[in-house]
Amino acid sequence: MIEVLSSAALATVQDLGRTGSLRWGVGTSGAMDNLALAAGNLLLGNALGAAAIEVPVFPFKVRFGEDCAFALTGADCAARLDDQPLLPWWVHQARAGQVLTLGLPQGGAQRGSRAMLCLAGGVDVPEVLGSRSTQLRGAFGGHEGRALRRGDVLRAAGAGAACKTGFGLVPPALALPLQQGGVPAVRVLPAAEYMGFEPASRAAFWAGEWKITSQSDRYGYRLEGEALRPIAPMELRSHGIVPGVIQVPHSGQPIIQMRDAQPSGGYPKFGTVIEADMWRLGQAPIGSRVRFIETNWEEAVAALDEVRAWLDKVARMVELHRGAPAARR
């Protein structure tokens, strides 16, 4: 058992997402940084998509009620286990009674915004429509369909089991870097209404820096930059949309749909952030700037292959290390 000790605003149980239910109007949810979730699970020997706790607001504190291995990935949050500082992107062993504290994200240019706390065996909450992710809009999934609160008690499916700990990973922000003009970047496919925008707006979208405003959360990121102007007003009926879609409302300031996006919308679609880069956006802090790189279908598929290849390599190396006999000193 682990008990949440902090007010834990907006911390939620997430897995890789509830795919396949969009046709019923059920959004995908899932970890904003799916790579951090998958990597943390690999470190623990868990299934890739085991549920974990996504923490977007700090400090965050939990007490372990029993011995339990855990992995910290995502944003580096100056974590401590009791008084012991912990390395980021690392698998650790907690003893019964120890308190884990996550502080403010640090790391300068590499600073992320969401920490992932993965537990041995995964967070044991019921599966709903094939996923353990919290669906905030529908108030189901995860832990009682809501964000965590002080006093909540969660169970780790593999608590108490022996688990090799004390090693870590090169974070994907370093292993798979992507920048444009010194600014973190994501790749974007032009979407259905792209050509309906003025040529100058289209050029400005790729050339400019976009600020992630404070009106940004798991539902969507509202951006601030040079307004995107349509050639003629576009009125569309609501239609299906997915995380990554960049909509342009009348203000001309784009909105990127994130993991908790509603499944339909009617604003013109300027582009779509490719699936392989959604984790980068998931870690982009409020107030930071991001740039967009135009890409095409082939490159988007290749980028996803690159992410999968990195995870495969991590899985192989971690498996080798977990299977190796303990080092003699």
Partner: protein
């Protein structure tokens, strides 16, 4: 698998054609240490953990082949500073092996005397990495 001691001559013949200075093999059936003396490969006495500690009490060695890092790449500061007192079991560096980081850990308490290898250099198994003065 037969007792590894019986295979010593075979291993020695292979080693003779390499530039390996020390060869150590541990299996469930026994262990074997071969060393180079001039052009000859000779069998060395088994070296158990306590004996190694008695000979070199103050050196932290590489637990694997890898790239030695003084600190985590996400952190600005090194894990250990010269003159710092560290307890046994303290992580004083990292070894990067592809996507993996292994900790370089002190076997005993001490004062950090020297970093033997620069940040970011590849090292072999057993390379001395950090020197400790006993407290």
């Amino acid at each position: 698998m037969q007792d590894v001691a019986l295979q010593a001559s075979q291993f020695a013949a292979w080693l003779a054609d390499t530039d390996i200075g020390l060869f150590e093999l541990r299996t469930p059936h026994g262990s074997l240490r071969l060393g180079r003396q001039g052009d000859d490969i000779v069998v060395l006495p088994a070296c158990d953990a306590e004996e190694a500690a008695a000979v070199e009490p103050a050196v932290v060695r590489a637990p694997s082949v890898g790239v030695f890092l003084h600190g985590h790449p996400l952190a600005g500061a090194p894990l250990a500073r010269i003159g710092e007192h560290v307890p046994a079991g303290q992580t004083v560096g990292l070894l990067q092996i592809g996507p993996l980081f292994l900790p370089v850990v002190t076997a005993e308490a001490g004062e950090i005397a020297a970093m033997c290898v620069a940040h970011g250099l590849p090292v072999g198994y057993g390379t001395p990495l950090v020197e400790l003065h006993p407290l």
